[in-house]
């Protein structure tokens, strides 16, 4: 297990998760910098991600979708607020509709990435801040396999009534 710490604040709706990798800082930065590498880990294997645009600069936007087992596409966008390689990255993550337009009422989550050299190993901390529990729930339910399972569970419950 590479995750070394996880600090949750349900009250502030933040999660700070730290993972350690046996690689140099520059190498870890590449998994964010290169959309082709990003695609290989962002979405779960059953919901692989495809990044259609990737403007990796402060103010730049990325557009992606994840494809589910039944072909369903969950679209999202990123807006980079700070790109300070190879150690710091911040972005806003939100949802888009089928036309790729932002779904504003879904809100956005702020993600801050910090990559720290640990002498042969590299620690990466992702701090995510959600706006509220409703939004967090929606974000988890839409486009994320784990959340989808739960959404499916809810549908089962509704159908059983």
């Amino acid at each position: 297990m590479t995750v070394t710490s996880s600090i949750k604040s349900p009250e502030a709706l933040t999660l700070a998760i730290t993972a350690e990798f046996p690689a140099a800082v520059e190498r870890v930065w590449q998994i964010w910098e290169d959309p082709r590498q990003l695609e290989r880990w962002w979405g779960p294997p059953t919901w692989p991600a495809t990044f259609e645009t990737y403007d990796f600069h402060p103010g730049g936007q990325a557009d992606y979708y994840m494809t589910g087992p039944d072909g369903t596409k969950a679209r999202g966008w990123w807006q980079f607020t700070s790109v300070d390689g190879p150690t710091r990255l911040a972005l806003n993550d939100g949802f888009a509709d089928d036309d790729g337009k932002r779904v504003e009422e879904m809100g956005q989550a702020l993600m801050e990435v910090s990559i720290v050299d640990g002498g042969g190993r590299t620690a990466m901390t992702i701090t995510t801040t959600f706006e509220n529990t409703e939004q967090m729930q929606k974000m988890l339910e839409m486009g994320m396999e784990e959340g989808m399972k739960e959404a499916m569970g809810q549908i089962d419950g509704i159908l059983a009534k």
């Binding site: 297990m1 349900p10 709706l13 990798f21 190498r27 590498q37 529990t133 967090m136 988890l140």
Partner: protein, 119 residues
Amino acid sequence: MVVDQLSEDVVDRLFQALSDATRRDIVRRVSAGPMSVSGLATFYAMSFAAVQKHVAVLERATLVTKEKRGREQLVQANPDGLALARRLLDEYEEIWRQRAARITDLLGQAPGAQAKEPS
């Protein structure tokens, strides 16, 4: 009230993660029963507006709810919100654990199409 049915243990665990002492205190107080914002403000050495802000943060996180009762705003605890937030963050943590595992796999592989680095 729901909170009365929870054991002290569960309540402790739920509130353990509250990061701000004032907000933790607000949640504790309103867990015992609804209170007005001005009533809450009498307990803290800070302005009414500051207390109101703390309440707004708690409300946004769906940990408390506000209800208009006449001219006053009554604040009450929403333990379900806190429990939900914890559960959702657990889920989100799991997503990142899985991502970290995939990143480890990716980093362990040959660079492939990447620009060649001098060894």
